[in-house]
């Protein structure tokens, strides 16, 4: 009986006047009966609209101010004070991001695997590590910058360098990667673990073949967050990576990331227009990196997870 009625519904969808379709008038009557319900709808809809509007406003504003300033000069291979090219900064940012992730991801993911898979539940150490990670995540980046300067730049005598900047940022994003990875691992259903152990797979194989692939989208979400912080960071970098205008040719040379470049341009006050252009480049770069990460996440998800 039920099957039949569904079929007729689909065949002549247009002719039928479905009784379960709520008309506008009916909805209004129902709201009249429950005015608080209507109020709630208005509040949440307004909140959503305002949040979206704020983001769109910033985007549009940056694009309007920036796009006219995207001159070929801005992308000249080498920086000089005439063209204020941001090309070296783009490359420096990408290299810095890669270095930071290479340092932070293994430690962050490794620590999360320990916390989620190996440590006993209710373990004291686990609680301490979690509290510390949360505290670290809330520390202003300038504090990391100060630490990086005192430790990497002076104590280890690396000078203002790619390495000092990457290590400082790695410490900064470590809690983010660790916590998101841990969350992702915890949400993998226990039934997968049971299934894998039940087939005689050991812990290592279960983690690598079953748990990590299932958790991959969550882990990558953490990495994307980390990339956002790296690319947008200035305070922690000025005192560690420095603000040299050329390409950072080796791990011990200084350079400026795109965000620092923008900061310096704005601060000097001589190249405000180019700073807007650089902002557009930064926006596109972040968008590009996020799209790429999402693409990789999808690929990995399809293949293994």
């Amino acid at each position: 009986m039920a099957d039949k009625s569904i079929k007729t519904d689909m065949n002549d969808e247009k002719e039928i006047r479905a009784i379960n379709k709520v008309s506008f008038k009916q909805r209004m009557i129902s709201y009249k009966r429950k005015p608080l319900s209507l109020l709630m709808l208005i509040i949440v809809a307004a909140a959503a609209a305002i949040s979206a509007a704020a983001l769109i406003f910033i985007m549009v504003y940056v694009l309007i101010r920036g796009i006219p300033n995207l001159t070929p000069d801005l992308f000249a291979l080498n920086y000089n004070s005439d063209n204020v090219s941001c090309m070296p900064s783009i490359i420096n940012t990408v290299v810095l991001t890669l270095f930071t992730l290479i340092i932070a991801v293994p430690f962050g993911v490794g620590a999360a695997i320990y916390l989620a898979e190996y440590a006993k539940k209710g373990n004291r150490l686990v609680k301490i590590i979690r509290t510390m990670a949360e505290t670290l995540a809330g520390i202003p980046s300038i504090v990391y910058g100060l630490f990086g300067m005192l430790f990497f730049v002076y104590a280890l005598n690396w000078g203002y360098s790619l390495l000092a900047g990457a290590f400082t940022l790695a410490i900064m994003v470590l809690p983010t990667i660790m916590r998101t990875t841990e969350e992702a691992l915890i949400t993998v259903p226990d039934s997968y673990r049971e299934g894998s152990y039940g087939l005689g797979a050991g812990k290592l194989r279960t983690i690598i073949r079953i748990i990590l692939p299932s958790a991959m989208p969550g882990i990558l979400a953490g990495v994307i967050l980390a990339v956002g912080r790296i690319v947008g960071e200035t305070a922690a970098l000025i005192y560690t990576y420095g603000s040299a205008t050329g390409y950072a040719a080796n791990p011990l040379s200084s350079g400026r990331s795109l965000a620092v470049h923008m900061y310096v341009l704005t601060n000097e006050g001589l190249h405000t227009n180019q700073a807007w252009g650089t902002a557009v480049v930064l926006l596109v770069l972040v968008f590009g990196i996020n799209t790429l990460s999402a693409f990789i996440a999808k690929k990995l998800g399809n293949k293994k997870g």
Partner: protein, 249 residues
């Protein structure tokens, strides 16, 4: 022939005494059913047979469990034990990967890399689980897209792919419709020629239909163990009789 021998076994979850002095010997190539009300310890006992209880924190076991005369809590490698004693869980738990990779996971774990060999095992396991015809064109599709009944038979195929000697089934049909249940019961009867099956079931009709021997559990105690016919036609213990006639539980 005797496959599993459980002697003077006690199990505790922390302070809770979950299984009390269980003695149970199970025969090879037979279907043994554990019945009893929820919380009586039958699933716990089943999970002790392939040491899945090792994963539960605070679980302590005393006594002796032997597989073919060998102490499974002694020097036996736990992964080898689980290869010999496969398990199908209450809720179908296919991995989030293709049908083929699901079946091949076990054999790959135990060192089979050859593609042809894997192809053969996958086909054979799916045939044994009576699901080859339904899935042969969908081997590369995700196993999560299958229906509940298909997923459970896939999990049985996955367990069979490592050629276990014993198959543990923990209420494997409780979440399935009668048609899928029927298919899995038929499958069990077919499989017992080559495997020893131990199943937990809430469904007494099911125990009656397919098992050779039945053990009745109540509050952590094994009350009665006998051939299924004897248990259902002439129970020795009053509590067994009350349970199977539906007066409690």
């Amino acid at each position: 022939m005797e496959k599993f021998a459980i002697d003077n076994m006690n199990l505790y979850y922390g302070k809770f005494h979950a299984l009390k002095n269980v003695n149970l010997h199970m025969e090879q190539n037979k279907i043994t059913a554990f019945i009893g009300p929820s919380g009586c310890g039958k699933s716990t006992l089943l999970k002790s047979l392939n040491r899945m209880n090792d994963l539960v924190e605070g679980c302590k076991i005393t006594g002796e469990i032997k597989l073919d005369g060998e102490d499974i809590y002694g020097n036996m490698d736990v992964n080898i034990l689980r290869k010999r004693v496969g398990m199908v869980f209450q809720k179908a738990n296919p991995f989030p990967m293709s049908v083929y990779d699901n079946i091949a996971f076990g054999p790959r774990t135990h060192g089979i890399k050859n593609k042809k060999e894997l192809d053969r095992i996958v086909e054979e396991s799916l045939r044994d689980a009576a699901i080859w015809d339904e899935l042969k064109d969908r081997l590369k599709k995700s196993a999560l897209g299958l229906s509940g009944g298909q997923q459970q038979r896939l999990c049985i195929a996955r367990a069979l792919a490592i050629k276990p000697e014993v198959l543990l089934m923990d209420e494997a049909t409780s979440a399935l419709d009668p048609i899928s249940t029927g298919k899995i019961e038929e499958l069990c009867l077919k499989l017992k020629d080559n495997y020893t099956i131990i199943m937990v079931t809430h469904n007494m009709q099911q125990a009656l239909r397919i098992s050779d021997n039945t053990a009745f559990f109540l509050l952590g105690e094994m009350v009665e163990y006998n051939s299924t016919d004897a248990i259902f036609s002439a129970p020795q213990d009053k509590r067994t009789e009350e349970y199977i006639t539906g007066r409690f539980g």
